[in-house]
Amino acid sequence: MIRLSVPFRQAVSRLTFPVMLMLSFGIVLIGRADQGMSGALRTGLDDVLAPVYGVFAGPIEAAESGTGAIGHLFSLSAENAQLRAENAKLLQWQAVAMALEAQNNALKATLNYTPPAAPAFSTGDVVADLGGVYDRSVLVVLPPGGSSVPLMGAVAMDGRGVAGRVVEAGSRSARVLLITDINSRIPVALGASGAPALMAGTNGPTPALLYWAPGQPPAEGAMVLTSAVGGAFPPGLPVGVVHYDAQNQPVVLPLADLDSLRLLRLFSYPDNLPVLTPIPHTKAKPAAIVHHRKK
């Protein structure tokens, strides 16, 4: 141990607090001036923490979904009956869907329709809920192989609908900004007519609908799909259903189970990468263009 004189030590201990305070203010200012720094720091921390969270995510998931636990046994028969009823209903819908698919194929054939290329995707476990007070985001652990396509700006979907977009991607982890976040603005198409609107996150469970055409108010129960306006999203991904809240304002009930996300698929649409997106695609863009030209 280094022995310091008593007055010197007192002076140091008195100075630490103001120095640290000034340093913190300095960090805030630097973070303001250079947005990339905080992003890089965050990605680094996420990559370090992702394996740690991954270790704990398994047991939590097991305890919750009842593998090995006896909690679910009690509701088994009731659940069975419900599933049987649902299955019968779904079989009817399957018939309808197959008929529609056949009709759709026939119509597409008459139009010489070329289907868009299937997007590359990677699936990841949601291991941590790393939002803040004013932010809704989750941390996804990527599979060890890593993905061949850049993940920045990828669309994250759970089994039912759009959950969010990747805003920060490291080598092992990616942060997904959920559609309920207050910074999230997604152009959507409403109902069968595809009337345009903007879905804006409010940090609450139901994002608000803005800028719909005054003559065409969104109908209760209408399907909300993503729209290609602005180029940030591919068209036609399911997002949610229109609902009018207690203040009689139209909101979107998301299809994705945002409160308990466990698995997310991250779809990269390299050719759709936007010009007007708020999320920077600086790394992804040149690669996408080169790729495009090779073809």
Binding site: L49, D129, L130, G131, V133
Partner: protein
């Protein structure tokens, strides 16, 4: 000093590290995907309670650099501007140290409302700073819910911290 064995010094060092350890471990654990409603809002509440308690009862084990590191970690785990919570936690730390003589003699029923008031102030400041730093006018509701969480959760957290304070963190027992 010489007569203290290696193990004893190791024990003392470990005890000295406990308060900062509880701060960091708590912040990381609260990120786990438990699926609790409003879980993300608990992280600043926990950080404030931690810094308040340890600055009050074991200030030597939670020096200003440790408080700042905890604040930066909190900012990086969430999406708040980096350094914002470092500033707020340091302000709380400084205030508690300044008021320490008056607070430390009083009982829990006195420190609880004091903590609630300081936490409310910190959340208002965080709301104002984030609104100013470019996220636009943010909703005020989280300030209220977080203050509510702070008031309700402080007794439980304090009970936990008091146990740690008397057990693993007690440097005088080393």
């Amino acid at each position: 000093m010489r007569r203290q064995g290696l193990w004893r010094r190791l024990d003392a060092a470990a005890r000295y590290a406990v308060p900062f350890g509880t701060l960091v471990a708590g912040l990381v654990v609260l990120g786990l995907n438990f699926g609790l409603p409003g879980q993300a809002q608990l992280r600043p509440v926990y950080a404030l309670a931690c810094v308040f308690f340890w600055s009050l009862y074991r200030p030597s084990a939670l020096p200003a650099p440790a408080v700042m590191a905890g604040g930066v970690l909190l900012d990086l785990l969430g999406f708040s501007p980096v350094g914002l919570w470092a500033v707020l936690l340091l302000l709380l730390h400084g205030l508690v140290l300044a008021l320490r003589r008056r607070l430390v003699q009083r009982g829990f029923l006195f420190t609880w409302p004091v903590f609630s008031g300081l936490a409310a102030g910190a959340f208002v400041l965080a709301w104002g700073a984030q609104s100013l730093l470019g996220q636009g006018m943010l909703p005020l509701r989280p300030v209220l819910t977080q203050t509510g969480f702070s008031v309700l959760l402080y007794p439980a957290l304090a009970a936990l911290f008091i146990r740690v304070h008397r057990g693993p963190a007690a440097a005088e027992l080393a």
